[in-house]
């Protein structure tokens, strides 16, 4: 691994060149094509008509990665809630040996890929553009990570084919086809996510959704899916049940309930408890915490940082959320 080589230059959407380095052990098996004539073409895609007969890939191609797949799709505008859902549910699903398929878009897609890689799982990213174009361009480090960790990037387009309006729905079709079940996390009305869900349904795949607030934009698409008969899930356990039901999973360790991440409990001071209980009710900024508790702002800053160090709370755009 000490020898690195420059893999290639990728043209981003804006026409800017950007290059990155990949460890040499992955470069060996980095690019290729697979067609319907080949034995190792994904079985799930053979049965459905209208799907491409040739796929381009980047990464370690191994047909076992397709054996059990959960599609995870959702909004580009991910909220801390969606992030938390992914961070809570995905690790346990990955533990059960299920690959996570998604569309390499910003937001929920990217987060699902990243969390899967973080907990050592396999992920499949399906691109809406040529296999050698990184789109969205700001995710080139995620692209490298996927290849580096032995996961797979797929596309039906060769080289540096640019994206077009029609390439996104085609990408969504592949995502739906490769998935054994589709999990939707955060979706707005009339979004591409709903399109993927529509494909999954037409292919006869179970459609799972994580409920969201009716006041959120990202809750409207979820509401529509629930109305049309999608299954609401609240934990990794329920997702895995679907896989069991489909006969895809049988040797699962039973007894584990829910998907909450276990953390070592640290003793909290009285101040920390005050802040935590406040944040569990609603997410607040530092100034708001100070006005709720009537404490000087300097001590609020200190206590909140203590909780951040312990990983009890996270910050996004100056607002703090309890785990």
């Amino acid at each position: 691994m000490d020898a690195f080589e420059l893999h290639d230059h990728f043209i981003t959407k804006t026409g800017v060149f950007c290059g990155f380095i990949i460890g040499c052990d992955t470069v060996l098996n980095v690019e290729g094509t697979v067609s319907k004539k080949d034995q190792n073409f994904p079985v799930k895609m053979r049965d459905i008509s209208g799907l491409p007969s040739t796929l381009y890939y980047c990464g370690a191609y191994n047909s076992t990665i397709f054996s059990r797949c959960l599609g995870v799709v959702g909004s580009r505008r991910i909220t801390p809630y969606g992030k938390k859902v992914i961070e809570t549910i995905i690790p346990e699903i990955v533990d059960a040996g299920i690959s996570i398929v998604s569309g390499f878009m910003n937001g929920v897609d990217a987060c699902a890929h990243a969390v899967t890689l973080e907990c050592g799982g396999k992920t499949i990213a399906v691109l809406p553009c040529g296999i050698r174009r990184i789109h969205p361009s700001n995710q080139f480090s995620l692209y490298a990570q996927i290849i580096d960790s032995g996961s797979l990037i797929l596309s039906e387009y060769p080289g540096k084919t640019p994206t077009a309006r029609w390439t996104y729905p085609r990408r969504n079709r592949i995502v739906a086809a490769l998935s054994d079940a589709l999990l939707v996390i955060e979706a707005a009305k009339n979004s591409g996510t709903l399109m993927t869900a529509g494909y999954a349904r037409s292919f006869g795949k179970p459609l799972l959704v994580v409920p969201n607030s009716i006041f959120e934009d990202n809750g409207q698409g979820i509401l529509a899916l629930l109305r049309s008969g999608a299954i609401a899930v609240g934990s990794a356990h329920e997702v895995l049940e679907t896989f069991e039901h489909e006969g895809l999973l049988n040797d699962r360790r039973s007894g584990k309930n829910g998907g909450s991440l276990t953390r070592e409990a640290l003793p909290h001071s009285l101040e920390q408890q005050h802040v935590l209980s406040l944040l569990r009710e609603s997410s607040l900024s530092l100034s708001e915490i100070a006005s709720h508790l009537s404490w000087p702002i300097s001590s609020v800053s200190t206590v909140v940082m203590q909780l951040q160090e312990q990983g009890e709370i996270v910050e996004q755009e100056g607002v703090f959320y309890a785990h």
């Binding site: 580009r76 505008r77 910003n106 937001g107 990217a110 969205p136 700001n138 995710q139 934009d217 997410s283 900024s285 530092l286 100034s287 708001e288 100070a290 006005s291 702002i297 300097s298 001590s299 609020v300 800053s301 200190t302 909140v304 940082m305 203590q306 951040q308 160090e309 996004q316 755009e317 100056g318 607002v319």
Partner: protein, 514 residues
């Protein structure tokens, strides 16, 4: 007859002596020449001088007049030579000598009165250094000249007064220092009158302002439109300690050179606050021009440079801030010379978190795509963000909270915060005695840990925090400096763990594209 009168030329913030030599020939046709590299303004001074002398009741001689501004190889700019030229010509006409130890400086009006002229403070500083005691300046500039000690300043309102003075009819009395009021507070400061107590809510940002005032750190305010970013920035000068005498001299020098001192103004003792518009050119911001002049960053010397809508400034302007932010001065090289201007300012920048402004806002949802957010944030490069020690989120305050008066009495006013800030500054001064450092922000990364007395426990916290939040080396040291300021505000000689924890809330945040 050859007459010599002394004057001075200001080049940037430097001053050199200029000898105005006037010779009148009786032979030849009546002519009036100025030599010695005069600019257009100096050349035109012929018309002003002739008209002013005639309008003062003296008939202008029909002779061949040559004026030489020595040294002849340095370009002469500005209108300040009107007065010395006319003094020399009058001396020749009236056959009265001009005292050799006096400097003359000022612009003439056609009616013979003297106009307010920029750069008198620099002239006075030069005179003191070079050993000239008598200054003849326009009367509106007298206060400015008097701020330099031991000067005999003769305020001249009209050329007629000078004529009477030279003839000995009625002498111009030198300004009595005691009659000039103690350095008047010049309202150069658009931010004066803002009280931080008027800012409702946003305790976090107000605390950040306090830390900035105490330690001189740079700050980036980010928040939705209308959250109060500008109010917080404007209230900063009010909680900063007044300028020290030496600082006041530096600031007055820059303001005098750029013509920013109003008539009858004297020493500037308020902290400058500059908020240039985001369309300001790079030269306007940094300084420059074919004859280099100080820019906004120098006008904000020892004060606050507030860049509202930071992301809307041109990329070149933002990047050009890098070197002055590090060095506290800016050197401008042009074909006509190289000049260095001081630019030791506290940068306060403000921007929205995204193009629509509502990312992270709880009441309104953000309408931006990840692409547009990405593009917006990338306008500020990592190296610049890294040089800003404190990144602060400003919240929208609900309208209901703004109108609720019950909390008003509890809100701290600028005065009481300024008191705390003053104490913290004193602690810093005492600690850094014998060094060139005045404020915590000026410590170099190398000596942060040597100078700031951080407890080992606090250092561990800082290290683990740096790891958790992926801080760069520079922002790691900057966080240590901010922690030092927080400890100073706390009156603690040692930086303890809670100080570091609070400082980490203000850490540099880099946009990671996710």
């Amino acid at each position: 007859m050859l007459i010599k009168v002394l004057s001075a030329a200001n080049i940037g913030l430097e001053t050199i002596k200029v000898e105005v030599e006037v010779n009148m020939f009786s032979r030849g046709l009546p002519k009036f020449h100025i030599v010695g590299l005069p600019s257009k303004a100096v050349d035109e001074s012929r018309q002003r001088v002739v008209t002013a002398i005639v309008n003062s009741g003296v008939s202008f001689p029909r002779k061949h007049i040559v004026v030489n501004l020595a040294p002849a190889d340095i370009p002469k700019e500005g209108s300040c030579y009107d007065f010395p030229i006319s003094a020399a010509i009058l001396s020749s006409i009236l056959s009265v000598p001009i005292p050799g130890d006096s400097l003359f400086f000022g612009e003439l009006s056609l009616d013979g009165s003297l106009r307010h002229t920029r750069g008198v403070f620099l002239l006075a500083l030069y005179a003191k250094e070079a050993g000239y005691r008598k200054l003849f300046v326009p009367d509106t500039c007298a206060n400015e000249a008097l701020t330099v000690p031991d000067m005999e300043v003769y305020p001249v309102a009209t050329l007629r007064q000078l004529i009477d003075h030279l003839k000995g009819h009625s002498a111009i009395a030198p300004c009595d220092r005691r009659l000039v009021r103690k350095p008047s507070i010049e309202r150069i400061n658009e931010a004066i009158g803002f009280d931080i107590g008027d800012v409702i809510g946003n305790e976090f940002a107000k605390r950040a302002a306090e830390i900035v005032a105490a330690g001189g750190h740079n700050m980036l305010l980010s928040g939705p439109p209308g959250a109060g970013k500008t109010m917080i920035a404007r209230s900063l000068p009010g909680i900063m300690p007044p300028l020290l005498d030496s600082e006041a001299m530096e600031v007055t020098k820059i303001y005098s050179a750029t013509g920013n001192i109003p008539p009858n103004g004297s020493l500037i003792i308020d902290r400058p606050f500059r908020s240039p518009h985001h369309t300001t050119s790079t030269v306007g911001l940094i300084g420059g021009g074919s004859k280099p002049m100080p820019g906004e960053i120098s006008l904000a010397h020892r004060g606050v440079l507030f860049l509202d809508e930071f992301a809307e400034f041109s990329q070149a302007s933002i990047e050009a801030l890098r070197q002055p932010l590090e060095d506290g001065m800016v050197t401008i090289s042009r074909s006509k010379g190289r000049l260095t201007f001081p630019a030791d300012f506290t940068l306060v920048a403000s921007m929205n978190p995204c193009p629509c402004g509502f990312l992270g806002d709880k009441q309104r949802t953000c309408q931006c795509t990840p692409f547009s957010i990405d593009r917006y944030r990338r306008k500020i490069s990592g190296p610049i963000l890294d040089r800003i020690d404190m990144h602060v989120h400003v919240d929208t305050v609900p309208i209901a909270a703004l109108s609720a008066a019950r909390d008003r009495s509890r809100i701290e006013s600028s005065r009481s915060i300024a008191h705390r800030v003053g104490k913290a500054r004193e602690m810093q001064r005492a600690r850094y005695i014998g060094t060139r450092i005045n404020m915590n922000a000026e410590i170099t990364s190398k000596s942060v840990f040597r100078l700031s007395r951080i407890s080992s426990e606090a250092r561990d916290t800082l290290l683990s925090g740096a790891e958790q939040f992926c801080l760069s080396a520079r922002s790691y040291f900057n966080t240590a400096k901010v922690a030092r300021t927080i400890a100073d505000l706390d009156g603690s000689s040692i930086v303890k763990r809670p100080h570091v924890q609070e400082a980490l809330q203000y850490r540099t945040r880099r946009y990671d594209g996710q």
